[in-house]
Amino acid sequence: MAISLTVNRKARTVDVEADKPLLWVLREDLGMPGTKFGCGAGLCGACTVILNGEAVRSCQTPLSDAAGKDIVTIEGVAASPVGAKVVEAWTALDVPQCGYCQAGQIMSATALLTATPKPSAEEVSAGMAGNICRCATYLRIQKAIAQASTAISGAAA
């Protein structure tokens, strides 16, 4: 059955099993490999996308749950003002090491800063604790979120 959804502001229709996780729909059916597979169990956050404004683990999101929804992935995150500032900070501070988890980190950070433009250290920890970085780039992730937060506040002022 064909299922329609919006991905990065584009209407897309896919005709695959309704229980296929959004992660694999993005990677296999929509040709968008930026969203990564890490654990398949919602434990590492590598597959994080933003669904109707909320960060979700796309490996745990069946396509049927994404039907008619608005999805933002790493390929399109810089189109939003908050996403653009996050990506800018990530680049300026050279956050990635291997880089594999960073799509998920950027999506979680964007969702966090969209909901909470000036997060406390505890809010950053809580908002980002679902995203594992095996290279442990956490100190720069913290800095990049702080820098993006300042940039967003500055832009809003």
């Binding site: 680049t91 990635p96 980002m128």
Partner: protein, 726 residues
């Protein structure tokens, strides 16, 4: 930029001579110059008509930053602006590029000179071309930002304009070509961002898992739950009825490296579909001979072996027993550490295409393509030269991808499906259970201290994994482990336990375990001697001298060790006094590994049995030059946090009836942002030594520093990893 045509390509292939120096082997055959086309100068450098310089990065990028760092060295000596440089990943071709592996923190020491010589050699040819064109002596010319200048006449010409002539110039002797003085460096020593960072933040396909040759199929596998077990029988009738399934491929060869890799691969049009179809496979394995191994069994064996004499000598000097009998004080303690997995975030995967002509093309996140090439050739019975290996960016290495199991399995599947590219992807459970694990180990340590508080004798009975008097891969330890070489009476011996698990190198292999044992134990010795660990270390190191190295390694310089120990103590304000604040503790650790000297101080807090790392101070000596300080800081902070994870967060790999029981990050937890220390502060000790690598040596000392800080905070001496007060 168009691709260089073969007729225009005039390259000087770099080949390895004497294991260290790259030499130019000039192969100069090309058509008449004149047309604007890119020109190759050496194996690594291509200069385009717009004066863009493309530099090949030859080694695998696992997040350690070499894809940026190696081209920095070449660009520096070529004397171009970093903004002119484009970087491309080279394919596997050791004949052309020299060694191409990511391991042992060896990229810097192996390439510091050859990479600069490659840049300087190309620069010399460009200068020679300008000298010829202008009829002036080469010595009267200078270079900078991709141009040659003649100050006397005010003339200037770009490298692009010179390149067609330069490729015809005689290749210089690279051992004699002039290199820049470090004070003239414009790129080396500057903070350079990772070359792939922009593509990473845009989500572009870079990694092995992103490889997607035209017409690609997907494979998932069912592997024997007991490593080295073999395939008895299987029924795939139900699997073949599943949507999207196109083939089922049993793999019964693949005995390299170490242990069998029997599996049944399910191939189809979607990984999600073939992975799901695994449920329908009926399969029987023969695990006899391997299903008796267990974590509890190893522990019981180790306990019994510790009471016996070592089965083999590792190092012996003087008479340790006699010296201990005379010692003023004797300290003895047992230390232990568990099996660990690597858990790279990108699961093991590989893509391969068996071409119609029998040639194999591979896209792989591999740390060691040359070894993989040999392994695949052996298993499949093909010529190593009949393979092309494209090296992708790698979603975490940590030593896991020095092994080639995932490439061998993929090659076996591809061979069964000629003409169709196929990507094998392990799921997380496959990945955790089919690792090449960091081996567990046990040490009974004994030390003697004389009346002056000096360490005079040492014994270590090391229980490790192996057979016939030989440790398995990564289960060994150095016979030259400090302080053995400086003590008059030493006895280090080994006894062996068998396992069916495959073992391998985990970031800072052997050091990540032995540092904990030795620096934790020496902290106990220091306490018994009425001093602190840094003071005991300085006293034991003695006057600066070079201690004998392991084969193929560099000597241990006691002066450099002392340098970082003193720097770390000064940096952290170490007083040697016990913590006066309840629940707060401070600990020290030193280690020399991968040619780097590192001393670290940890401050931590203990509250209701929970340990929080507050701050870590690091003092490091990796020689005369930090090549990319932006990445250096990042590597060191990452390695410290990785060490904290190994010490406190990761749980031991558990084995029952031969099989590893862990499934995912629920029972093999990795460190998260909320467990990260508030600060990892870094200071350098710059010494007049060739620069060495940073991927690993920062990791080992933090583990004993934490254990020693816990002792300071609580009075409890923890001698087993992971460290826990529960």
């Amino acid at each position: 930029m168009t691709a260089a045509t073969v007729s225009r390509r005039s390259f000087l292939a770099a080949s390895l001579a004497g294991g260290v120096a790259l030499t130019f082997e000039a192969r100069l055959a090309f058509a008449a110059p004149g047309k604007a086309e890119p020109a190759m100068l050496g194996a690594f450098i291509t200069i385009a008509p717009d004066n863009t310089v493309t530099i090949l990065a030859k080694n695998p990028e696992i997040g350690q930053g070499v894809k940026t760092m190696l081209p920095m060295l070449i660009a520096e000596e070529l004397d171009v602006a970093w903004s002119q440089v484009k970087i491309r990943q080279a394919d596997d071709n050791a004949d052309k590029y020299g060694p191409q592996f990511a391991g042992g923190s060896m990229t810097t020491p192996l390439n510091w000179l050859p990479a600069r010589q490659a840049g300087a050699g190309a620069r010399a040819m460009l200068v020679a071309a300008a000298a010829q064109q202008w009829g002036v002596p080469a010595a009267s010319l200078t270079t900078g930002e991709g141009a040659v200048r003649h100050a006397a006449s005010g003339r200037s010409i770009t490298y692009a304009a010179l390149a067609p002539v330069a490729v015809k110039m005689a290749a210089p002797d690279l051992d004699k070509v002039a290199l820049k003085s470090p004070k003239d460096f414009k790129i080396v020593g500057k903070a350079m961002k990772g070359v792939d960072t922009p593509a990473i933040v845009r989500g572009e396909p870079l990694f092995g898992i992103d490889a997607h040759p035209q017409g690609m199929l997907y494979a998932a596998m069912v592997k024997c739950p007991v490593i080295s077990g073999t395939l008895k029988s299987f029924d795939d009738a139900a699997v073949r009825r599943e949507k999207g399934v196109l083939a089922v491929v049993p793999i019964t060869d693949g005995e390299i490296p170490a242990g069998k890799h029997n599996a049944v691969a399910i191939v189809g049009d979607s990984w999600w579909r073939v992975h799901k179809a695994r449920e329908k496979l009926a399969v029987q394995w023969d695990t006899s001979g391997f299903d008796g191994f267990s974590t509890d069994g190893y522990a019981a064996e180790a306990k019994a072996l510790l009471e016996k004499s070592p089965a083999a000598d590792l190092f012996r000097a003087g008479n340790a027993d006699a010296a201990l009998a005379k010692a003023a004080k004797v300290v003895t303690a047992d230390y232990a550490y568990p099996f660990l997995a690597h858990a790279t975030l990108e699961p093991q995967n590989c893509t391969a295409l068996w071409h119609a002509d029998g040639k194999l093309e591979i896209w792989a996140p591999t740390q060691d393509p040359a070894t993989a090439r040999g392994d695949i050739a052996k298993v499949l019975g093909i010529e190593p030269g009949s393979m092309t290996i494209h090296m992708t960016r790698i979603g975490g290495g940590f030593g896991r991808r020095l092994m080639s199991d995932f490439m061998i399995l993929t090659a076996c599947i591809a061979k069964a499906l000629p003409g169709r590219p196929v990507k094998l992807l392990y799921d997380r459970t496959d990945d955790l259970r089919n690792d090449y694990f960091r081996p567990a180990g046990w040490h009974r340590m004994t030390a003697g201290v004389d009346a002056s508080g000096a360490l005079v004798a040492l014994k270590d009975h090391f229980i490790t994994f192996g057979a016939s008097g030989k440790p398995m891969r990564a289960a060994e330890m150095r016979a030259t482990e400090f302080p053995a070489p400086v003590l008059p009476d030493v006895q280090m011996g080994m006894s062996f336990i068998k396992t069916n698990l495959t073992t391998g190198w985990l970031r800072a292999p052997t050091s990540n375990a032995v540092a904990f044992v030795f620096q934790g134990f020496l902290d106990e010795v220091a306490e018994a001697a009425g001093t602190d660990l840094p003071s005991l270390m300085v006293k034991t190191l003695g006057a600066p001298k070079q201690l004998p190295p392991e084969p193929d390694d560099t000597p241990f310089d006691t002066g450099r060790a002392r340098g970082v120990i003193e720097a770390a103590c000064k940096f952290a304000g170490w007083t040697g006094k016990r913590s006066a604040v309840p629940g707060k503790g401070r600990g020290f650790g030193f280690y020399f590994s991968h040619r780097g000297y590192f001393a670290e101080v940890v401050d931590l807090s203990v509250s209701d049995g929970a340990i929080t790392i507050d701050k870590v101070w690091v003092a490091g000596d990796i020689g005369s030059q930090v090549i990319n300080p932006l990445n250096a800081e990042h590597q060191m902070q990452g390695a410290v946090i990785d060490g904290i994870a190994q010490a406190m967060v990761w749980q031991p790999i558990e084995q029952k009836a031969g099989a590893v029981t862990q499934e995912n990050f629920g029972d093999f937890p990795l460190i998260r942002i909320n467990q990260t220390p508030g600060e990892v502060a870094i200071t350098w000790v710059v010494t007049d030594n060739p620069p060495t690598g940073l991927g690993e040596p920062t990791l080992p000392p933090v583990i004993p520093a934490i254990a020693n800080a816990i002792k300071d905070a609580t009075g409890k001496r923890l001698r087993s990893l992971p460290l826990s007060l529960a």
